[in-house]
Amino acid sequence: MKLFAVKEQESRAALTPVSAKKFIDKGIEVAIESGLGEQSSFPDTAYTQVGATIQSREEGIKIADIVIRVLAPSVDEVSLMKKGAWHVSLLNPWANADVLAALAQQGINAVSLEMMPRTTLAQKMDVISSQANLAGYMSVVKATDYFSGILPMMMTPAGTLSPAKVFVLGIGVAGLQAIATAKRLGARVTAFDVREEALEQAESLGAKALRIDLGETGSTDQGYAKQLTPEQIAKQQEAQAAVCIDSDIVITTAKVFGRKPPILIKKEVVAQMKAGSVIADLAAEGGGNVEGVVADEVVTTENGVTLLGYHKFENFVSRDASSMFASNIEHFFNHFWDKETSTWLANTQIQLQSEEQDDILKGCLITTGGAIVHEQFKA
């Protein structure tokens, strides 16, 4: 069995020397595109040392039984693949209908990692979680860097600096890690989420939870948040605005699965914030939770507020982000690995009736046998 890891246009890699070795130890032939780990502190030599070979992208894709990478492939790349081969990566399936079609057409078994079910068992394969975690950490580091003051309290001979106030909006995995990191640095953290249990989770990290009575809300059975009604949003924004204006650093993380993220902070609110304060928007990619944020850019408003719209905060810690991503993929692979026979059972799994299929595979398999099979994306 042959595995090929494609070099990405961004700083993360889907395979690290450590995970490569684990595949190789199972008897898999591993090949990588040259420069795969360059930006995440893993030189090619580190891979070859553990027994991986270097191949051109084209060649690698052609002969591989499993292609792994971080982002979705191009349609051209899909067309190079063997029929019946596996493709494991993030696919952004809501935006990449053409790629899904190509994958189906080519007869590829394509796994979309963002569709990984949010169950306890699947957690070790869940890249959305593992990357959001790092993004949450890094959002605070970046905001701290841009902030014109310090986070911790200091009672010094030259006067007392009060702790910075940090406001975290959206307490998913990223929000939690943002809370933890800001707390560590000594900030006073307030957090908000529409889900009641998320507020408790914020408190479990020592943050103050902002409780706004919004009436009925909820999350999908996958653990992702539902979209709110307009009235709810208005009510929520009013309460948030007050906290925002009082804060030095604001972190927003509210993505809604497969849709445009809600606007949580309006221009007017940003305009009332103090000079030198910072907003990091982790949803900037999809349009942002903050009005005025520009994806992948750092903008400073007239009143001196810095808006961080980085696409993927996790890319700033590329080494660890890659390690986690690669480890998630490896766990996914292991899930179907039969130790006794040293065979990969995923191929047999997909032959099964839907009811008998593994829940995890059912959740994230998009195309197989020449068709799009995932409920959500079936045409």
Binding site: T119, T120, Q123, A180, S204
Partner: protein, 453 residues
Amino acid sequence: MNQWIEIVYVVASVMFILGIKMMGNADTARKGNLLSAWAMLLAVVVTLWNQEVISFGWIAVGIFIGAVIGVVAAKRVALTEMPELVALFNGFGGLASLLVGWAEVKSTGNLTSLASISILLTVWIGSVTFIGSKVAYLKLSGKMPGRSIAFPGMKWLNIFIALAIIASGVIWMTMGIGIAFYITLGLALILGFLAVIPIGGGDMPVVISLLNSCSGLAACAAGFVIVNNVLIVAGCLVGTSGLILTVIMCKAMNRTLSNVLFGGFSVASSKTGAIVEGEMKGITPEDAYYVLEAAQQVVVVPGYGMAVAQAQHAAKELGEILEANGTEVRYCIHPVAGRMPGHMNVLLAEADVPYEQLHEMDDVNPTMEMVDVAIVIGANDVVNPSAADDETSPIYGMPIINTHEAKTVFVLKRGKGAGFSGLENSLFFRENTRMIYGDAKATLTALIAAFKG
């Protein structure tokens, strides 16, 4: 003259009191033992001045023989055999009391009813102590099988014998029929034997402690027989403090006294091995303290509940106290514990738990059977054995921390709440699991308080 003897007895009693008190503290224990030894010497020497004691020949012989045997036995015994030696000595003490009572019967013609009752108590307690200690000795030294020996109907037989003992005692007392005395004595010996054989070897230390308490009571009863204060005081002190000690020892083994004493019967009657599903058994922090205090190896498993309770500082403190007590403490962190990756790390780092004490699941699991106590602080899914043994469970296949393999598991949670995945947790129903209900922080604080008490 006799007045002064009595005063010396009072002094000896005070020394015994102080001696026992000092023996409860590691720093003064040895001195306390010495003090009580001096008290004994004083009591014995002064007794020889008593006008009732008129001949010293046999006494000298007896003391000489006893002392030689005692010294030799105590000096020769190997470290590992000390417990059985103590059992043996204890049996001798019980037998001596029995003999004192018996001798009183022989030497005194007309017994008051108080004396008669006292004699009966001396004989009964003495017999049980003697035989019980003897059996304990044999079991511990391997001269008799250590396992529980029992047969169906044993319980009823015991009850019958106990009634017979009382009956024959009453007959002797009221009607003065001499043979009844020997019958009651013999039956008491048999009862002592039957009471101890069903108890397993592992529980012997507790039994010895209880028998020790009994031998104190026997001495006390002998004191009533010969109307002697120092016997009453010293015997009674040993009787009650020994009882307390027995209870404490039971707690340290996470058992109750009745469980130890009568557990053997039930095992004998219902032989349906492995426990599958039981009930959730609660325990108070105070009782849990005794178990932890005696533990050599402890593993702490934190979960989301620790975070909710913000109990990390308390957890760290308990860990420190245990370490100071000579226990090895490890924190075992499950990768999905909490609600975000690294949740437990954040908290434990905040509480300054040293990096070296944090362990991964895979390091700890293989050693779990050596662990005396696993303390599960607000974790649930990550210690759910269904993940390992119940194929129908939605988390089947997830590696868990095998706390259920530890000798004892303490689970700290508020109530019967489920974990994130909403599953029932069979760990909580296991035989070796004890639930400590309440907010984790409050529970840990109570445990710490128990240690510092």
